[in-house]
């Protein structure tokens, strides 16, 4: 247990400062901006709309389709080539799977709800920020949802389980595990789980328990963003 004080001085279960806003893209049916530390994400929802090509249509329900993209200047090093890398496609896939459990599109057969994510600035935890932003945008778009989804990464840095790793921790010169997690607010069921690194089963369970608490903080920020948009209107 060498990693005791975190690089930026946070407590082990402390998240970076968060900010969120709903309804930031007028053209979209729903949208959001979500910021955690130096990672920022825009999410836009379009639909339900016609789905092409037709063979992708499902006559029983509408489908959800995510697209994830880091802006070329958003990486901490050299410019990132635009376009859909294999990494971006994989993230889009796990994002869709993480949001699907709460979204109910049975009233919109054969249609698609598109979610587009763009990140202008990143400092680790991008897929979690993307999911948290997407959930706000979906709710803002009035898509029927049984629950909210919130997401945060838990990790293990040199033997210590910590919440919301930043890039300096992800690249810490020791064994580091990164575990992005998304959860349903009410049941605390897990809808996104990935892991890279080395971790014992005990520590993995510990990480998920930490996620349960950490995710509540993300949830509060998401709900506040949604209520703020409409409360302002109400006054």
């Amino acid at each position: 247990m060498v990693y005791k004080t975190r690089n930026d001085g946070r407590k082990i279960d402390e998240l970076r400062p968060m900010e969120a806003k709903a309804g930031v893209i007028p053209n979209a049916d729903g949208s959001a901006y979500f910021k955690i530390g130096k990672t920022t994400a825009f999410a836009a929802v379009y639909g339900p709309r016609e789905l092409h090509p037709r063979f992708l249509q499902n006559p029983k329900t509408g489908i959800l389709r995510c697209s994830y993209s880091m802006m070329p200047f958003s990486g901490s090093g050299e410019r990132i080539r635009p376009g859909h890398s294999r990494r971006a496609q994989e993230i889009a896939l796990v994002m869709t799977a993480s949001l699907n459990p709460v979204v109910d599109l049975t009233a919109f057969p054969n249609s698609v709800v598109d979610i587009f994510i763009e990140l202008p600035q990143t400092d680790a935890g991008t897929r979690c920020a993307a999911i948290s932003a997407a959930a706000i945008a979906l709710a803002d778009a009035g898509i029927p949802m049984k629950d909210m989804i919130s997401s945060v990464a838990i990790g293990q840095v040199d033997g210590t389980v910590v919440a919301d790793l930043d890039y300096s921790e992800e690249s810490y010169p020791a064994i580091v595990s990164d575990i992005p997690i998304a959860m349903l607010h009410n049941s605390k069921e897990i809808s996104l789980l990935q892991m890279d690194g080395e971790i014992s089963k005990e520590d993995l369970i510990k990480a998920m328990e930490m996620a349960k608490v950490a995710i509540e903080q993300v949830y509060k920020v998401q709900v506040q963003a949604l209520k703020e948009k409409y409360q302002k209107v109400k006054q």
Binding site: I25, F73, S74, P82, E118, P120, Q121
Partner: protein, 263 residues
């Protein structure tokens, strides 16, 4: 799906617009916000009306081109994201994005806005290359002006990252105080012709109703560095003269916003 083409065209002939603006009037707000992405060497958010674009500058060290061994280089890329409009799709840049980036690129390149020789570190071996990415957040028309303004603003506020000539390593985490060697500040303005009326700053609905458009990039002295005509209707020399006057006037107008934010 809503275009109101016919009404826009009829109104234009009476010097009127759908949103009540004058033909030569820009939408408000016009805002330029700098440093919106700290991972970029320079970055801005530009808003004109409901159109929002981001631009970011990245610098990298590359081998100079063979025909210009003592110079750096520049590249401009525009992404019309499907996030910003229901009309854009995922995938490689379409022709609209290519034209947008080319027009802005030529405005800057042909004005010789950047002192390319100052970007050279070791002739024939190493030079700084400047890449500007323009990303749309919400497209409500006039991406040429918004994108051009964003590109110039991003160039103006970019700072070189720390570079160690001994090891040849660039540390992108550390920004120096050194700005890009800018010689000129070209800004493109696009004038649209709808039903014989000339207007600026079209909304996305007005962009669907135009007959011809002309983009003119000019610097602070009013010297023109790039022109692009679009649309299927021809323009007379007299019209082009009027368009140039209007474009130069509006370049001055937009430049005031830029000068307020970036000294």
């Amino acid at each position: 799906m809503i275009e109101n083409k016919q009404t826009i065209s009829e109104l234009a002939s009476k010097n009127k617009r759908l949103d009540g603006r004058g033909l030569e009037e820009y939408r408000q707000p016009i805002t330029i916000e700098t440093d919106i992405s700290r991972t970029a060497e320079g970055s801005v958010r530009v808003q004109i009306g409901q159109t929002v674009v981001l631009a970011g500058v990245k610098l990298s060290i590359e081998k100079p081109y063979n025909d210009t061994p003592d110079q750096g280089g520049i590249m401009i890329n525009a992404e019309l994201t499907p996030m910003s409009s229901p009309e854009y799709e995922r995938g490689p840049p379409g022709i609209k994005a290519i034209e947008l980036s080319r027009v802005i690129d030529r405005g800057i390149r042909e004005a010789k806005a950047i002192d390319m020789k100052k970007l050279c570190l070791e002739p024939g071996e190493k030079a700084w290359f400047v890449i500007i990415d323009i990303i749309t957040i919400n497209d409500d028309g006039n991406l040429f002006d918004a994108g051009g303004l964003a590109a110039l603003a991003a160039l103006k506020c970019a700072k070189f990252p720390e570079y160690d000539p001994e090891t040849g390593v660039v540390d992108y985490k550390i920004k120096t105080k050194e700005s890009l060697p800018l010689l000129k500040e070209p800004l493109p303005i696009t004038v649209y012709k709808i039903n014989n009326a000339l207007l600026v700053d079209p909304t996305s609905q007005e962009e669907k109703a135009y007959d011809a458009r002309l983009t003119i990039a000019s610097d602070t002295n009013g010297t023109i560095s790039a022109i692009q005509k679009g649309g299927n209707t021809p323009l007379s020399i007299a019209e082009i003269s009027n368009i140039a006057d209007l474009a130069l006037k509006k370049a001055k107008f937009l430049r005031e916003y830029l000068d307020k934010v970036i000294k």
